[in-house]
Structure formats: structure tokens, C-alpha cells
Symmetry: C2
Subunit: 175 residues, 2 copies
DNA sequence: AGCAGTGTAAAACGATCATTTTACATCGTC
DNA sequence: GACGATGTAAAATGATCGTTTTACACTGCT
């Protein structure tokens, strides 16, 4: 594992576990096993590091939304939440901690969410004879987002409930 | 408006706008129009201040869940988000920023969420001949949570979509 | 052999953090 | 008219923040 990969993954873990602002550079260097000089050579700044962590997170998350059905979408979410984290959406957390005041971060967050909505719209269209159904897509998105949030305090079962609700809405839209 | 009220409401605004950790005590004293000595006399510590802000937030939010129907629940949420904040759930944000490591804060968050779920379960029971329907209640909760989160980047329209989805699930459960 | 690249360890930077302290002003009340 | 409560302004506390710097070691290429 090269230096940068090690840095990004250590940072992702710490940010997810303790928050962005609360995680200091000393803890990052220690966790990544490198000097602060090396860290700054690769990351440039803390803001840039956060941005890169979000972009890497998006890359790693991508396969979980690259699916062909609503059923598979929630299966993938359940797997993610069971294995990765039940600490809420890291993108929205970054947005909240920075108040939307840091353009690079805000951009990464909004890009991720735009991509998520677009992908869900694609999936919904596949399930409905290629018809665009923007509101149904938004409702699936809301269930997806809500399951991620509710899983923090209700556990992975929230994803199962959201899953069933999504299938029910889909079925109803078809008839 | 007495000193403490002024402090709590200034703090709530700053925390909501800029995040908890990123909001320093100097900004709090300035916004609340008081010296740091007075602030500490009333709040005790930053952690205690955050906790009190959350409790006050819950008190102010309470009426929006003290309703008798799912329809009214989402109407109230829409009103809250349109007039108060579309920056996500302040409780979950506090939890995320502190990593769940500060007991007083974690407690306030979990108490709020437990109360929210219980209330939704009551409402769902009212709508279904006093039958307890835990999974439907969780699905409504997830739509509620998801609308709050999605409204950050999709605007208040997300609440409208969630509202319709909730009514659809309710209708389907009845038949 | 020499050089560019990549790394470490550790100190120093000025700023800002949460919190406490010192010194003083203004109250209403007994 | 003294007193306790409640406030202010401002400096000081020591810790920690993100970032830069200094000085040095190891590597692989040419």
C-alpha cells in the first residue's frame, strides 16, 4: 500500500469515527504512520485531504449504486451499512461540519448526491419500461437517505424496512 | 429575553449554521452579547451548552410531532424545514461530530430519537384502529428522517415527496 | 559517484481553542 | 447605605490547532 493510499484510508476511518473538525493532524499522522511533512506533501492541506477522502469514498461506494433494480440497490446498501459504517452519510456530515462554507467540500458532496439521484432515476426507469418517474425516484432516494440516517440509532434493520417500503411504492406505481 | 435564553438561542443558531466544533466560544459570546464569564456561569462548559441547546431544540420541536395523523406529521415537518432550517437533523449532526463519545450529548440525541419513534408509532396506531404496527412506523420514521436529510440538497420539495409516500404506505397497509 | 526523490524526526510558527481569573460596574433589596 | 447577585471588559492560562521549517537518512536511477 503506497503512502497516499494509506493516508486516505486512515483519514477516512478517523473522520468517520470522530468527525472532521475533531480529528487533528497529529492523530492523522500517527494513524497513517507518517511524518507531517510527508502528509502535507501528499495532501496539501486538511481541506484538500477531506476533499480527497470524500472523492475516494465516492469511488468505493459507487459499485453499491451501480445496480439494475431497486431490490439490488437496497441489498447493496444493507451490505455497506453492515460492513462499513452505521454512522450516517459521511458526505452530509462533512457538509454539516463545514456549514457549506468550503467550496471544494460542498462541491464533492453535491456531486455525490446528484450522482446518487441520477442513478436512482435510471434504476426506477428500468423498472418502469424506461419511463422517467422523477417523484418516485425522489421517494426511493428519501428511503435510501432515511435508512442511512435511521440505521445510526436503529441498526441495520432500518435498511430492511426501507427496502420493503421501496418495493411497495414501486409495486403501487406500476399498477 | 433573559440571559440564558439569549445564550441558548444564539448558540443554537451558530451550531446549526457552522457546526458544533467549528463554533468557538468567542463567536458564541459575541453572538449572545455577553462576556465569557457570564457564559460560563450559565452554561458551565461547551459540552453542557451543546447538551442544553439540544434539549431546548427538542422542546421547540416537540409540537411538530404532537399530532394526530401522518398527514399532519408531514405538514408540520414541511413547515419546520421551510421556516427553521434545511441543514439536516441537528441531533444526528451533534452525534456525528462527537463520534458518540460524549455521554450527555449521546443521551440527548438518543432520547430525542426514541421519542420521535414512539410518537410515530402512536400516530400509526391511531390511523389503524389502535393496532401497533412497528414496521410501518419505522418506515414512516425513515421517510421522515430521509426527507430531513434530502431537503438539504433537494429543498423542501423532498418533504412533499416523502409526505405522499407515507400516505401511500399507510393506505396500502390498511387494505 | 552523484543526484533527485521520498521519506523521517522534531522543533517552531502564530493562531485559536476552552476555560479561569482579575478588577470593576450596576442593580434591586433589606 | 451596605450587600449579594448579576453583569462587563480584558488579560492570562496551558493546550492544541493547522502548517512550515530545519536537518538528516535511505532509495533507485544514470
Amino acid at each position: 500500500m503506497d503512502t497516499k493510499t494509506k493516508l486516505i484510508s486512515a483519514a477516512e476511518q478517523l473522520f468517520d469515527r470522530h468527525g472532521f473538525t475533531a480529528t487533528g493532524m497529529d492523530k492523522l499522522t500517527k494513524a497513517a504512520g507518517m511524518s507531517s511533512r510527508t502528509l502535507y506533501k501528499h495532501a496539501g492541506s486538511k481541506t484538500a485531504l477531506i476533499t480527497e477522502v470524500l472523492k475516494e469514498r465516492h469511488r468505493r461506494f459507487q459499485p453499491h449504486i451501480e445496480v439494475g433494480s431497486v431490490d439490488a440497490l437496497f441489498d447493496a446498501l444493507e451490505e455497506w451499512i453492515r460492513s462499513e459504517s452505521a454512522r450516517g452519510c459521511l458526505f452530509l456530515r462533512a457538509y454539516g461540519e463545514t456549514g457549506g462554507d468550503i467550496p471544494a467540500i460542498t462541491e464533492a458532496v453535491l456531486a455525490h448526491k446528484a450522482r446518487l439521484y441520477d442513478k436512482i432515476q435510471d434504476i426506477v426507469a428500468i423498472e418502469n419500461d424506461e419511463q422517467e418517474m422523477p417523484e418516485l425516484a425522489e421517494q426511493i432516494l428519501i428511503l435510501y437517505e432515511g435508512a442511512t440516517a435511521a440505521a445510526i440509532y436503529r441498526g441495520p434493520g432500518a435498511v430492511v424496512s426501507a427496502h420493503k417500503a421501496a418495493l411497495a411504492l414501486l409495486k403501487q406505481a406500476r399498477s
